[in-house]
């Protein structure tokens, strides 16, 4: 008796969907279990062996198949609402654009065609005011990175100090409260006046608008280090340096990551606006340039690029932040 026969009888007995086959038809002799029966009954064995080998268990009946089916179902249940939302959004866009008639907004199809041409050659360079979309994205990203990097360089130590020393916190609180609500672009003239150049001025705007979330979140993290951890440090009589590296810093890290996420979010919001004003390169400049060219498809594409890049930045940082989540 081969294993194949056993498997076949086993499956056909257990799955009600399988059409009745000769294998199951003979009634088992009384007093014998199923398994024993399938192995001892010569007639059954012969009949089963005579069956064509093609009758395999269908994939959807096997355990793996069912697990796969469940996973697919789960995926669709999870993916359906967002996909539906996107579809409705595009539909709405289409309705708005077609209701505008001749001079309405470009529709999704037209914008898509335009985007295909645009992204066919993203890295061309035809002089200072005519660069490919790839260059513009990279320029904007560079400015965000540089401005944010400076903000982190200043803001993280400042946040630690402010969180550690109540006196310092009380000292800088009014200044921060006063400066934080200022619209980022209000800082641009100051930057232009001080630096006399557009590039450092736009870095300055990124710096000043993205430094507040870093400072405030780091300080909050430092002042909220659980007393338990500090008690451990005190009981062990750890040195200041060890307390900082082994207890304070790891404990603040999740707050710090939140600060960084908010900062980069703000920086990305601000850069487009700043570049509209400073010109030269970058996504913001490109938007404004295309507005002057009245190329509305490109403006719509720029909006999608800004949104998509921001989303990617956010997701990347969330991934990094989860890495440091200990709870």
């Amino acid at each position: 008796m081969s294993a194949v026969t056993f498997n076949e009888t086993h499956y056909s007995m257990n799955s009600p969907v399988t059409p009745p086959s000769p294998v199951v038809s003979p009634p088992p002799p009384p007093g014998l279990g199923e398994r024993k029966n399938s192995q001892t009954n010569p007639q059954r064995g012969a009949e089963a062996g005579a069956l064509p080998q093609g009758r395999k268990t269908p994939m959807w009946e096997s355990e793996r198949g069912q697990a796969f089916g469940e996973a697919v179902g789960k995926f669709f249940r999870a993916a359906l609402p967002p996909l539906l939302g996107m579809a409705l959004f595009i539909l709405l866009w289409q309705i708005v654009s077609s209701s505008g008639g001749e001079h309405g907004l470009p529709g999704p199809a037209k914008t898509w065609e335009s985007a295909k041409i645009l992204f066919a050659d993203p890295f061309y360079d035809k002089g200072p005011n005519d660069k490919g979309i790839g260059w513009n994205i990279l320029h904007s990203l560079y400015r965000v990175g540089a401005g944010f990097g400076l903000a982190a360089l200043v803001g993280i130590p400042a946040g630690f100090l402010i969180g550690r020393f109540a006196f310092l916190a009380a000292m800088v609180a009014p200044v921060i409260s006063l400066l934080r609500p200022v619209s980022p672009l209000a800082w641009l003239p100051i930057g232009l006046y001080v630096f006399k150049q557009t590039e450092p001025a736009s870095l300055w705007v990124i710096f000043i608008s993205s430094i507040w979330p870093i400072i405030l979140n780091t300080a909050a993290g430092v002042s909220r280090v659980p007393q338990d951890y500090l008690n451990v440090a005190r009981v062990l009589n750890l040195s200041e340096w060890t307390i900082f590296t082994r207890i304070l810093f790891p404990s603040v890290l999740p707050h710090l990551m939140t600060g960084i996420r908010l900062s980069i979010g703000v920086a990305w919001l601000v850069i487009v606006a700043a570049e509209m004003l400073t010109g030269g390169t970058g996504l913001g400049f490109w938007v404004w340039d295309e507005w002057n060219n009245l190329n509305v498809e490109h403006i719509l594409i720029a909006i999608f690029i800004v949104g998509f890049t921001g989303l990617l930045l956010e997701q990347a940082l969330v991934m990094v932040a989860n890495r440091f989540n200990y709870e």
Partner: protein, 263 residues
């Protein structure tokens, strides 16, 4: 030496928003080397405050605390503390948590390999060798508490201070850890001060039970000698009349003489 830990006329006053609050007053206690002392009392009676004074986490407003004839001025690694809520650092593994303490105490005079041996030994002592590479969020509450005990023991402290070490655990886990603590203290001969609100735990583990009156201005009400022979076994003690006598004495103190009325 019946005067290893010496507390004399200790008084603790806290400054609160509503003015001064006297938590402890006129605390006098002498603890011999190798003794196991339990502090028992209703919640809010200042028993944890007294432990913090010995740990050096708080400073007495008045009075003197001496350990081996030296004044306790702040926390120090010669006093190992096991906190009620384990207080493990979540970003370090069990090994890392214990190693941090070992490194602090022995790092200056011993090579790294020896430090690792000490850490392993402490983890082994509490029976957690299999979990030494795990992070605190991957192990159970009882295991975390055992790591906390290992951390305190690894420092080879003169005094082991336990602040309701098993308070947050279920009864079965607690019993297991009590047995283990008994064995460890027997092995290491550590002088131990334990805060508890569990009468059975106090009688089972202690050489003496310090019973505290209710706060505010709590003080030591009575001290009960637990003259049960060691090693003790919880099953045979359960049928021991002497055990029940001691137990009922603690209960009488807590529920007849110093019953705390619910506010």
């Amino acid at each position: 030496m019946h005067n290893y830990l010496h507390i004399e006329h200790a008084r603790m006053v806290f400054d609160t928003k509503k003015g001064k609050f006297t938590a402890l007053t006129d605390i006098n206690l002498r603890v011999g080397q190798g003794e196991f002392i339990s502090l028992i009392g209703h919640s809010g009676c200042g028993k944890s405050t007294l432990l913090n004074l010995v740990a050096g986490l708080a400073t007495a407003t008045e009075g003197v605390l001496l350990l081996a004839e030296k004044e306790i001025k702040g926390p120090g690694p010669e006093r190992g503390v096991v906190f009620q809520n384990h207080s493990l650092l979540p970003w370090l593994t069990c090994f890392g948590n214990v190693y941090l303490a070992v490194e602090r105490v022995f790092g200056a005079r011993e090579p790294k390999s020896r430090l690792r041996e000490r850490t392993q030994a402490a983890i082994e002592l509490v029976g957690l060798s299999h979990a030494s590479a795990k992070h605190p969020n991957e192990i159970s509450g009882g295991m975390k508490q055992r790591v906390g005990i290992a951390r305190a023991l690894a420092m080879e402290p003169k005094v082991l201070l336990l602040d309701e070490p098993f308070g947050a655990l279920d009864a079965l886990t607690r019993a297991g850890l009590q047995d283990e603590l008994m064995r460890i203290v027997q092995e290491t001969k550590a002088t131990t001060l334990m805060v508890t609100h569990d009468v059975d735990e106090a009688v089972l583990l202690s050489d003496r039970i310090v019973m505290m009156t209710n706060g505010p201005a709590a003080t030591i009400g009575e001290i009960l000698d637990v003259d049960l022979p060691r090693p003790r076994d919880r099953l045979s003690l359960a049928v021991e009349p002497r055990y029940h006598h001691l137990r009922s004495q603690v209960l009488a103190f807590l529920y007849q003489k110093h019953l705390k009325h619910a506010a």
